[in-house]
Symmetry: C2
Subunit: 225 residues, 2 copies
DNA sequence: ATCCGCAGCATTGTCGACAATCAGGATTGA
DNA sequence: TCAATCCTGATTGTCGACAATGCTGCGGAT
Protein backbone atom coordinates (compact mmCIF):
# COMPACT_ATOMS: atom_id res chain seq x y z
CA UNK A 1 0.00 0.00 0.00
CA UNK A 2 1.92 2.97 -1.20
CA UNK A 3 1.18 6.43 -0.02
CA UNK A 4 1.57 7.70 -3.55
CA UNK A 5 -1.88 6.50 -4.50
CA UNK A 6 -3.78 8.65 -2.08
CA UNK A 7 -6.57 9.47 -4.48
CA UNK A 8 -8.67 6.54 -3.32
CA UNK A 9 -9.08 7.98 0.16
CA UNK A 10 -11.88 10.24 -1.01
CA UNK A 11 -15.28 8.71 -1.77
CA UNK A 12 -15.00 10.08 -5.33
CA UNK A 13 -18.52 11.38 -5.09
CA UNK A 14 -18.79 12.33 -8.74
CA UNK A 15 -18.66 9.90 -11.63
CA UNK A 16 -16.18 11.96 -13.59
CA UNK A 17 -13.70 11.78 -10.72
CA UNK A 18 -14.11 8.04 -10.37
CA UNK A 19 -13.63 7.47 -14.10
CA UNK A 20 -10.61 9.75 -14.01
CA UNK A 21 -9.01 7.62 -11.31
CA UNK A 22 -9.82 4.38 -13.10
CA UNK A 23 -8.52 5.57 -16.44
CA UNK A 24 -5.39 7.02 -14.92
CA UNK A 25 -4.59 3.72 -13.28
CA UNK A 26 -5.42 1.81 -16.46
CA UNK A 27 -3.17 4.01 -18.56
CA UNK A 28 -0.28 3.93 -16.10
CA UNK A 29 -0.41 0.17 -15.67
CA UNK A 30 -0.94 -0.56 -19.34
CA UNK A 31 -4.58 -1.64 -19.26
CA UNK A 32 -5.18 0.97 -21.94
CA UNK A 33 -2.23 0.62 -24.32
CA UNK A 34 0.05 3.60 -24.87
CA UNK A 35 -0.59 5.36 -28.15
CA UNK A 36 -4.03 3.86 -28.61
CA UNK A 37 -6.86 6.02 -29.80
CA UNK A 38 -9.66 6.74 -27.37
CA UNK A 39 -13.17 6.73 -28.75
CA UNK A 40 -15.60 8.54 -26.52
CA UNK A 41 -18.69 6.44 -27.32
CA UNK A 42 -17.01 3.06 -26.89
CA UNK A 43 -15.28 4.06 -23.67
CA UNK A 44 -18.48 5.52 -22.29
CA UNK A 45 -20.23 2.27 -23.11
CA UNK A 46 -17.44 0.22 -21.57
CA UNK A 47 -17.68 2.13 -18.30
CA UNK A 48 -21.45 2.26 -18.49
CA UNK A 49 -21.66 6.04 -18.28
CA UNK A 50 -22.56 8.93 -20.53
CA UNK A 51 -20.16 10.95 -22.60
CA UNK A 52 -20.36 14.01 -20.35
CA UNK A 53 -18.41 12.70 -17.35
CA UNK A 54 -16.10 10.83 -19.68
CA UNK A 55 -15.18 14.03 -21.45
CA UNK A 56 -14.44 15.72 -18.14
CA UNK A 57 -12.23 12.81 -17.15
CA UNK A 58 -10.44 13.11 -20.48
CA UNK A 59 -9.88 16.80 -19.90
CA UNK A 60 -8.27 16.03 -16.59
CA UNK A 61 -6.15 13.29 -18.09
CA UNK A 62 -5.06 15.76 -20.72
CA UNK A 63 -4.09 18.28 -18.08
CA UNK A 64 -1.71 15.81 -16.47
CA UNK A 65 -0.35 14.89 -19.89
CA UNK A 66 -1.50 11.28 -19.93
CA UNK A 67 -3.57 11.78 -23.08
CA UNK A 68 -3.23 14.17 -25.99
CA UNK A 69 -6.26 15.75 -27.63
CA UNK A 70 -6.75 17.56 -30.88
CA UNK A 71 -9.91 19.50 -31.57
CA UNK A 72 -12.44 17.66 -33.71
CA UNK A 73 -10.11 14.69 -33.99
CA UNK A 74 -10.01 12.93 -30.67
CA UNK A 75 -7.81 11.77 -27.84
CA UNK A 76 -4.88 9.39 -27.82
CA UNK A 77 -2.99 7.90 -24.92
CA UNK A 78 0.46 9.40 -24.84
CA UNK A 79 3.38 7.44 -26.24
CA UNK A 80 6.35 8.25 -24.06
CA UNK A 81 9.53 8.33 -26.05
CA UNK A 82 13.03 8.51 -24.65
CA UNK A 83 13.42 12.25 -25.15
CA UNK A 84 10.39 13.11 -23.09
CA UNK A 85 11.45 10.67 -20.41
CA UNK A 86 14.81 12.39 -20.06
CA UNK A 87 13.08 15.77 -20.02
CA UNK A 88 11.00 14.59 -17.10
CA UNK A 89 14.12 13.62 -15.23
CA UNK A 90 15.56 17.09 -15.73
CA UNK A 91 12.44 18.57 -14.20
CA UNK A 92 12.52 16.06 -11.37
CA UNK A 93 16.13 16.88 -10.65
CA UNK A 94 15.35 20.55 -10.25
CA UNK A 95 12.10 20.11 -8.34
CA UNK A 96 13.14 17.33 -6.00
CA UNK A 97 16.43 19.02 -5.27
CA UNK A 98 14.45 22.01 -4.06
CA UNK A 99 12.11 19.68 -2.20
CA UNK A 100 15.01 18.08 -0.35
CA UNK A 101 16.33 21.52 0.60
CA UNK A 102 12.97 22.59 1.96
CA UNK A 103 12.49 19.27 3.73
CA UNK A 104 15.83 19.75 5.49
CA UNK A 105 14.65 23.14 6.66
CA UNK A 106 11.11 22.39 7.68
CA UNK A 107 10.32 18.66 7.83
CA UNK A 108 8.99 17.67 11.26
CA UNK A 109 11.20 15.42 13.34
CA UNK A 110 8.56 12.73 13.46
CA UNK A 111 8.39 12.52 9.68
CA UNK A 112 12.15 12.18 9.52
CA UNK A 113 11.96 9.25 11.91
CA UNK A 114 9.35 7.61 9.71
CA UNK A 115 11.61 8.16 6.74
CA UNK A 116 14.45 6.40 8.51
CA UNK A 117 12.15 3.51 9.37
CA UNK A 118 11.10 3.27 5.73
CA UNK A 119 14.72 3.09 4.64
CA UNK A 120 15.42 0.40 7.22
CA UNK A 121 12.57 -1.57 5.73
CA UNK A 122 13.99 -1.16 2.24
CA UNK A 123 17.40 -2.17 3.49
CA UNK A 124 15.90 -5.39 4.77
CA UNK A 125 14.22 -6.05 1.43
CA UNK A 126 17.43 -5.63 -0.51
CA UNK A 127 19.47 -7.67 1.97
CA UNK A 128 17.08 -10.55 1.27
CA UNK A 129 17.64 -10.00 -2.46
CA UNK A 130 14.02 -9.10 -2.54
CA UNK A 131 14.35 -6.54 -5.29
CA UNK A 132 11.07 -7.36 -6.83
CA UNK A 133 9.21 -6.49 -3.67
CA UNK A 134 11.13 -3.27 -3.34
CA UNK A 135 10.31 -2.00 -6.76
CA UNK A 136 6.97 -3.65 -7.14
CA UNK A 137 5.75 -1.85 -4.05
CA UNK A 138 7.23 1.28 -5.48
CA UNK A 139 9.27 1.91 -2.40
CA UNK A 140 11.42 4.23 -4.43
CA UNK A 141 8.57 6.53 -5.36
CA UNK A 142 7.27 6.31 -1.82
CA UNK A 143 10.58 7.62 -0.54
CA UNK A 144 10.56 10.55 -2.93
CA UNK A 145 6.92 11.18 -2.19
CA UNK A 146 7.52 11.54 1.52
CA UNK A 147 10.38 13.99 1.10
CA UNK A 148 8.36 16.16 -1.25
CA UNK A 149 5.47 16.16 1.18
CA UNK A 150 7.73 16.81 4.14
CA UNK A 151 8.54 20.36 3.09
CA UNK A 152 4.90 21.38 2.90
CA UNK A 153 5.13 23.27 -0.39
CA UNK A 154 1.77 22.40 -1.86
CA UNK A 155 2.59 23.39 -5.40
CA UNK A 156 5.68 21.23 -5.37
CA UNK A 157 3.62 18.34 -4.08
CA UNK A 158 1.04 18.89 -6.76
CA UNK A 159 3.40 18.98 -9.73
CA UNK A 160 5.43 15.99 -8.64
CA UNK A 161 2.78 13.71 -7.18
CA UNK A 162 -0.07 14.45 -9.55
CA UNK A 163 1.90 14.68 -12.78
CA UNK A 164 5.46 13.45 -12.89
CA UNK A 165 5.25 10.41 -10.63
CA UNK A 166 2.47 8.91 -12.72
CA UNK A 167 4.68 9.20 -15.75
CA UNK A 168 7.52 7.55 -13.89
CA UNK A 169 5.26 4.69 -12.86
CA UNK A 170 4.02 4.40 -16.44
CA UNK A 171 7.57 4.06 -17.67
CA UNK A 172 8.32 1.35 -15.12
CA UNK A 173 5.18 -0.61 -15.91
CA UNK A 174 5.79 -0.36 -19.62
CA UNK A 175 9.49 -1.11 -19.89
CA UNK A 176 9.78 -3.37 -16.87
CA UNK A 177 12.31 -1.57 -14.72
CA UNK A 178 15.14 -3.86 -13.75
CA UNK A 179 16.62 -3.11 -10.41
CA UNK A 180 20.36 -3.43 -10.71
CA UNK A 181 20.55 0.10 -9.40
CA UNK A 182 18.52 -0.69 -6.30
CA UNK A 183 21.56 -1.10 -4.08
CA UNK A 184 23.15 2.16 -5.20
CA UNK A 185 19.84 3.98 -5.01
CA UNK A 186 19.30 2.87 -1.45
CA UNK A 187 22.72 4.13 -0.48
CA UNK A 188 21.94 7.49 -2.07
CA UNK A 189 18.63 7.61 -0.29
CA UNK A 190 20.35 7.10 3.04
CA UNK A 191 22.75 9.96 2.36
CA UNK A 192 19.85 12.26 1.53
CA UNK A 193 18.05 11.37 4.72
CA UNK A 194 21.19 11.92 6.75
CA UNK A 195 21.52 15.40 5.30
CA UNK A 196 17.88 16.16 6.03
CA UNK A 197 18.22 14.90 9.58
CA UNK A 198 21.28 17.14 9.97
CA UNK A 199 19.16 20.05 8.69
CA UNK A 200 21.72 20.68 5.98
CA UNK A 201 19.53 21.95 3.16
CA UNK A 202 22.31 22.70 0.73
CA UNK A 203 23.81 19.22 1.05
CA UNK A 204 20.39 17.56 0.86
CA UNK A 205 19.66 19.35 -2.39
CA UNK A 206 23.04 18.47 -3.84
CA UNK A 207 22.70 14.80 -2.90
CA UNK A 208 19.14 14.52 -4.20
CA UNK A 209 20.08 16.09 -7.51
CA UNK A 210 23.02 13.75 -7.90
CA UNK A 211 20.77 10.81 -7.08
CA UNK A 212 18.21 11.72 -9.70
CA UNK A 213 20.91 12.49 -12.23
CA UNK A 214 22.35 9.03 -11.63
CA UNK A 215 18.93 7.47 -12.25
CA UNK A 216 18.64 9.51 -15.40
CA UNK A 217 22.00 8.32 -16.64
CA UNK A 218 21.11 4.71 -15.89
CA UNK A 219 17.98 5.09 -17.98
CA UNK A 220 19.79 6.89 -20.77
CA UNK A 221 22.34 4.10 -20.87
CA UNK A 222 19.62 1.47 -21.20
CA UNK A 223 17.74 3.49 -23.76
CA UNK A 224 20.49 3.90 -26.36
CA UNK A 225 22.85 0.99 -25.82
CA UNK B 1 2.80 42.50 -27.36
CA UNK B 2 4.37 39.90 -25.20
CA UNK B 3 5.33 36.50 -26.43
CA UNK B 4 3.96 35.02 -23.26
CA UNK B 5 0.39 35.32 -24.47
CA UNK B 6 0.79 33.06 -27.45
CA UNK B 7 -2.53 31.34 -27.02
CA UNK B 8 -4.31 33.75 -29.34
CA UNK B 9 -2.34 32.61 -32.37
CA UNK B 10 -4.55 29.57 -32.78
CA UNK B 11 -8.03 30.04 -34.18
CA UNK B 12 -9.45 28.49 -30.98
CA UNK B 13 -11.74 26.35 -33.04
CA UNK B 14 -13.79 25.08 -30.12
CA UNK B 15 -15.94 27.24 -27.89
CA UNK B 16 -14.59 25.72 -24.71
CA UNK B 17 -11.05 26.73 -25.66
CA UNK B 18 -12.10 30.26 -26.48
CA UNK B 19 -13.98 30.63 -23.20
CA UNK B 20 -10.99 29.20 -21.39
CA UNK B 21 -8.72 31.86 -22.86
CA UNK B 22 -11.18 34.65 -22.09
CA UNK B 23 -11.74 33.56 -18.52
CA UNK B 24 -8.05 33.04 -17.89
CA UNK B 25 -7.32 36.57 -19.02
CA UNK B 26 -10.24 37.95 -17.03
CA UNK B 27 -9.11 36.22 -13.86
CA UNK B 28 -5.47 37.20 -14.26
CA UNK B 29 -6.26 40.84 -14.97
CA UNK B 30 -8.94 41.11 -12.32
CA UNK B 31 -12.01 41.25 -14.52
CA UNK B 32 -13.35 38.36 -12.45
CA UNK B 33 -12.46 39.25 -8.87
CA UNK B 34 -10.24 36.89 -6.88
CA UNK B 35 -12.14 34.78 -4.42
CA UNK B 36 -15.49 35.32 -6.10
CA UNK B 37 -17.85 32.43 -6.56
CA UNK B 38 -18.51 31.22 -10.08
CA UNK B 39 -22.07 30.28 -10.94
CA UNK B 40 -22.28 28.13 -14.02
CA UNK B 41 -25.69 29.33 -15.23
CA UNK B 42 -24.97 33.05 -14.90
CA UNK B 43 -21.55 32.76 -16.51
CA UNK B 44 -22.91 30.66 -19.34
CA UNK B 45 -25.57 33.31 -19.91
CA UNK B 46 -23.01 36.09 -19.74
CA UNK B 47 -20.87 34.47 -22.43
CA UNK B 48 -23.92 33.38 -24.40
CA UNK B 49 -23.01 29.70 -24.41
CA UNK B 50 -24.28 26.51 -22.88
CA UNK B 51 -23.05 24.99 -19.65
CA UNK B 52 -21.18 22.18 -21.38
CA UNK B 53 -18.29 24.14 -22.85
CA UNK B 54 -18.24 26.34 -19.76
CA UNK B 55 -17.71 23.33 -17.55
CA UNK B 56 -14.85 22.16 -19.71
CA UNK B 57 -13.26 25.59 -19.49
CA UNK B 58 -13.68 25.48 -15.72
CA UNK B 59 -11.98 22.08 -15.61
CA UNK B 60 -9.02 23.50 -17.48
CA UNK B 61 -8.89 26.56 -15.24
CA UNK B 62 -8.92 24.23 -12.28
CA UNK B 63 -6.04 22.24 -13.72
CA UNK B 64 -3.86 25.35 -13.89
CA UNK B 65 -4.94 26.29 -10.37
CA UNK B 66 -6.77 29.48 -11.26
CA UNK B 67 -10.06 28.24 -9.81
CA UNK B 68 -10.83 25.76 -7.06
CA UNK B 69 -13.74 23.36 -7.28
CA UNK B 70 -15.52 21.22 -4.75
CA UNK B 71 -17.90 18.51 -5.82
CA UNK B 72 -21.56 19.50 -5.63
CA UNK B 73 -20.65 22.91 -4.32
CA UNK B 74 -19.16 24.94 -7.10
CA UNK B 75 -16.11 26.82 -8.27
CA UNK B 76 -14.35 29.84 -6.81
CA UNK B 77 -11.60 31.98 -8.26
CA UNK B 78 -8.45 31.38 -6.25
CA UNK B 79 -7.40 33.87 -3.61
CA UNK B 80 -3.63 34.04 -3.68
CA UNK B 81 -2.18 34.59 -0.25
CA UNK B 82 1.39 35.40 0.58
CA UNK B 83 2.34 31.85 1.50
CA UNK B 84 1.32 30.42 -1.84
CA UNK B 85 3.05 33.25 -3.64
CA UNK B 86 6.33 32.45 -1.91
CA UNK B 87 5.83 28.77 -2.64
CA UNK B 88 5.53 29.62 -6.31
CA UNK B 89 8.81 31.46 -6.17
CA UNK B 90 10.53 28.42 -4.68
CA UNK B 91 9.29 26.35 -7.59
CA UNK B 92 10.32 29.01 -10.05
CA UNK B 93 13.78 29.16 -8.57
CA UNK B 94 14.30 25.44 -9.05
CA UNK B 95 12.70 25.23 -12.48
CA UNK B 96 14.13 28.35 -14.06
CA UNK B 97 17.56 27.58 -12.67
CA UNK B 98 17.42 24.29 -14.55
CA UNK B 99 16.04 26.12 -17.57
CA UNK B 100 18.98 28.51 -17.59
CA UNK B 101 21.40 25.60 -17.37
CA UNK B 102 19.77 23.83 -20.29
CA UNK B 103 19.58 27.06 -22.27
CA UNK B 104 23.30 27.55 -21.80
CA UNK B 105 23.87 24.07 -23.16
CA UNK B 106 21.46 24.00 -26.05
CA UNK B 107 20.01 27.42 -26.92
CA UNK B 108 20.63 28.33 -30.57
CA UNK B 109 23.00 31.22 -31.22
CA UNK B 110 20.29 33.17 -33.00
CA UNK B 111 18.00 33.03 -30.00
CA UNK B 112 20.80 34.29 -27.78
CA UNK B 113 21.25 37.24 -30.08
CA UNK B 114 17.55 38.02 -29.86
CA UNK B 115 17.80 37.81 -26.11
CA UNK B 116 20.62 40.36 -26.12
CA UNK B 117 18.56 42.64 -28.31
CA UNK B 118 15.63 42.34 -25.93
CA UNK B 119 17.83 43.31 -23.02
CA UNK B 120 19.16 46.30 -24.94
CA UNK B 121 15.59 47.39 -25.49
CA UNK B 122 14.86 47.06 -21.78
CA UNK B 123 18.02 48.99 -20.95
CA UNK B 124 16.74 51.83 -23.10
CA UNK B 125 13.38 51.79 -21.34
CA UNK B 126 14.92 52.00 -17.92
CA UNK B 127 17.42 54.66 -18.94
CA UNK B 128 14.46 56.85 -19.90
CA UNK B 129 12.94 56.16 -16.48
CA UNK B 130 10.26 54.39 -18.39
CA UNK B 131 9.64 51.77 -15.75
CA UNK B 132 5.98 51.63 -16.38
CA UNK B 133 6.48 50.60 -19.96
CA UNK B 134 8.99 47.99 -18.93
CA UNK B 135 6.71 46.29 -16.52
CA UNK B 136 3.46 47.03 -18.23
CA UNK B 137 4.71 45.24 -21.30
CA UNK B 138 5.82 42.48 -19.02
CA UNK B 139 9.30 42.58 -20.36
CA UNK B 140 10.42 40.69 -17.31
CA UNK B 141 8.21 37.70 -17.97
CA UNK B 142 9.12 37.89 -21.63
CA UNK B 143 12.78 37.52 -20.73
CA UNK B 144 12.14 34.50 -18.55
CA UNK B 145 9.83 33.05 -21.16
CA UNK B 146 12.48 33.13 -23.84
CA UNK B 147 15.10 31.45 -21.70
CA UNK B 148 12.73 28.66 -20.74
CA UNK B 149 11.82 28.14 -24.36
CA UNK B 150 15.42 28.31 -25.48
CA UNK B 151 16.34 25.00 -23.88
CA UNK B 152 13.63 23.11 -25.68
CA UNK B 153 12.42 21.07 -22.70
CA UNK B 154 8.73 20.97 -23.44
CA UNK B 155 7.65 19.94 -19.98
CA UNK B 156 9.57 22.80 -18.43
CA UNK B 157 7.95 25.18 -20.89
CA UNK B 158 4.56 23.80 -20.09
CA UNK B 159 4.76 24.05 -16.31
CA UNK B 160 6.22 27.53 -16.29
CA UNK B 161 4.40 29.20 -19.14
CA UNK B 162 1.02 27.59 -18.74
CA UNK B 163 0.81 27.60 -14.96
CA UNK B 164 3.23 29.68 -12.98
CA UNK B 165 3.58 32.72 -15.20
CA UNK B 166 -0.14 33.34 -15.15
CA UNK B 167 -0.04 33.36 -11.38
CA UNK B 168 2.87 35.81 -11.44
CA UNK B 169 0.92 38.10 -13.77
CA UNK B 170 -2.12 37.79 -11.55
CA UNK B 171 -0.11 38.90 -8.57
CA UNK B 172 1.25 41.90 -10.44
CA UNK B 173 -2.14 42.96 -11.72
CA UNK B 174 -3.68 42.56 -8.30
CA UNK B 175 -1.09 44.20 -6.06
CA UNK B 176 0.28 46.69 -8.54
CA UNK B 177 3.93 45.73 -8.73
CA UNK B 178 6.14 48.71 -8.12
CA UNK B 179 9.36 48.61 -9.97
CA UNK B 180 12.08 49.82 -7.66
CA UNK B 181 13.83 46.55 -8.39
CA UNK B 182 13.77 47.07 -12.16
CA UNK B 183 17.31 48.38 -12.31
CA UNK B 184 18.74 45.54 -10.24
CA UNK B 185 16.68 42.98 -12.11
CA UNK B 186 17.97 44.20 -15.44
CA UNK B 187 21.53 43.89 -14.23
CA UNK B 188 20.86 40.35 -13.10
CA UNK B 189 19.26 39.53 -16.42
CA UNK B 190 22.37 40.69 -18.22
CA UNK B 191 24.58 38.48 -16.10
CA UNK B 192 22.41 35.48 -16.87
CA UNK B 193 22.54 36.14 -20.58
CA UNK B 194 26.30 36.54 -20.45
CA UNK B 195 26.61 33.15 -18.79
CA UNK B 196 24.33 31.57 -21.38
CA UNK B 197 26.30 33.17 -24.22
CA UNK B 198 29.48 31.79 -22.64
CA UNK B 199 27.82 28.35 -22.54
CA UNK B 200 28.46 28.16 -18.82
CA UNK B 201 25.48 26.18 -17.64
CA UNK B 202 26.50 25.95 -14.01
CA UNK B 203 26.98 29.69 -13.71
CA UNK B 204 23.78 30.45 -15.59
CA UNK B 205 21.82 28.30 -13.20
CA UNK B 206 23.45 29.87 -10.17
CA UNK B 207 22.80 33.40 -11.41
CA UNK B 208 19.21 32.69 -12.36
CA UNK B 209 18.48 31.16 -8.99
CA UNK B 210 20.00 34.10 -7.19
CA UNK B 211 17.96 36.45 -9.36
CA UNK B 212 14.69 34.74 -8.58
CA UNK B 213 15.59 34.47 -4.92
CA UNK B 214 16.20 38.22 -4.86
CA UNK B 215 12.79 38.83 -6.39
CA UNK B 216 11.29 36.54 -3.81
CA UNK B 217 12.96 38.42 -0.99
CA UNK B 218 11.77 41.75 -2.38
CA UNK B 219 8.22 40.46 -2.41
CA UNK B 220 8.51 38.95 1.05
CA UNK B 221 9.79 42.28 2.34
CA UNK B 222 6.83 44.13 0.89
CA UNK B 223 4.39 41.51 2.08
CA UNK B 224 5.18 41.62 5.80
CA UNK B 225 6.74 45.00 6.47
C1' DA C 1 -33.02 32.36 23.77
C1' DT C 2 -30.57 28.75 21.49
C1' DC C 3 -30.27 24.63 19.05
C1' DC C 4 -32.07 20.97 16.10
C1' DG C 5 -34.77 19.19 12.26
C1' DC C 6 -37.18 19.89 7.99
C1' DA C 7 -38.80 21.72 3.81
C1' DG C 8 -37.93 24.58 -0.18
C1' DC C 9 -34.79 26.35 -3.41
C1' DA C 10 -30.85 26.99 -6.03
C1' DT C 11 -26.91 24.93 -8.00
C1' DT C 12 -24.32 21.18 -9.73
C1' DG C 13 -23.96 16.51 -11.96
C1' DT C 14 -25.65 13.56 -15.61
C1' DC C 15 -27.96 12.15 -19.70
C1' DG C 16 -29.60 11.64 -24.53
C1' DA C 17 -30.11 14.00 -28.96
C1' DC C 18 -28.72 17.24 -32.64
C1' DA C 19 -25.29 19.86 -35.36
C1' DA C 20 -20.52 20.63 -37.02
C1' DT C 21 -16.27 18.86 -38.33
C1' DC C 22 -12.76 15.66 -39.95
C1' DA C 23 -10.71 11.09 -41.94
C1' DG C 24 -10.80 7.76 -45.53
C1' DG C 25 -12.18 5.82 -49.72
C1' DA C 26 -14.44 5.79 -54.24
C1' DT C 27 -14.80 8.39 -58.47
C1' DT C 28 -13.59 11.10 -62.31
C1' DG C 29 -10.71 13.79 -65.11
C1' DA C 30 -6.16 14.77 -67.18
C1' DT D 1 -1.53 5.85 -63.80
C1' DC D 2 -1.81 9.61 -60.78
C1' DA D 3 -3.92 13.38 -58.71
C1' DA D 4 -7.61 16.12 -57.21
C1' DT D 5 -12.42 16.10 -55.67
C1' DC D 6 -16.46 14.73 -53.70
C1' DC D 7 -19.02 11.83 -50.82
C1' DT D 8 -19.96 9.04 -46.97
C1' DG D 9 -19.41 7.49 -42.50
C1' DA D 10 -18.16 8.15 -38.01
C1' DT D 11 -16.59 10.98 -34.36
C1' DT D 12 -16.49 15.10 -31.80
C1' DG D 13 -18.62 19.50 -30.11
C1' DT D 14 -22.75 21.64 -28.32
C1' DC D 15 -27.21 22.06 -26.40
C1' DG D 16 -31.39 21.73 -23.42
C1' DA D 17 -33.70 18.96 -19.90
C1' DC D 18 -33.82 15.91 -15.87
C1' DA D 19 -32.00 14.05 -11.51
C1' DA D 20 -29.15 14.47 -7.34
C1' DT D 21 -26.89 17.07 -3.98
C1' DG D 22 -25.86 20.90 -0.84
C1' DC D 23 -27.23 25.36 1.19
C1' DT D 24 -30.80 28.45 3.58
C1' DG D 25 -34.46 29.97 6.11
C1' DC D 26 -38.19 28.86 9.19
C1' DG D 27 -40.64 26.44 12.74
C1' DG D 28 -40.66 23.95 16.86
C1' DA D 29 -38.61 21.81 20.99
C1' DT D 30 -35.66 22.13 25.01
Amino acid sequence: MTKASNASTEPSSTIADRIFDQMRQAIVEGGIPAGSKISEPVLAARYGISRGPLREALRRLESIKLVERRANVGARVIQLNSDQLLEIYDVREALEGMAARIAAERMPEGAIEELKALLAHHRGDIARDDWQTYFQEEGDLDFHFRIVQGGGNRRLVDILCNDLYHLARMYRCQFGMRSERARDALKEHELVVDAIAARDGELAEWLMRRHIRASREAIARRLVP
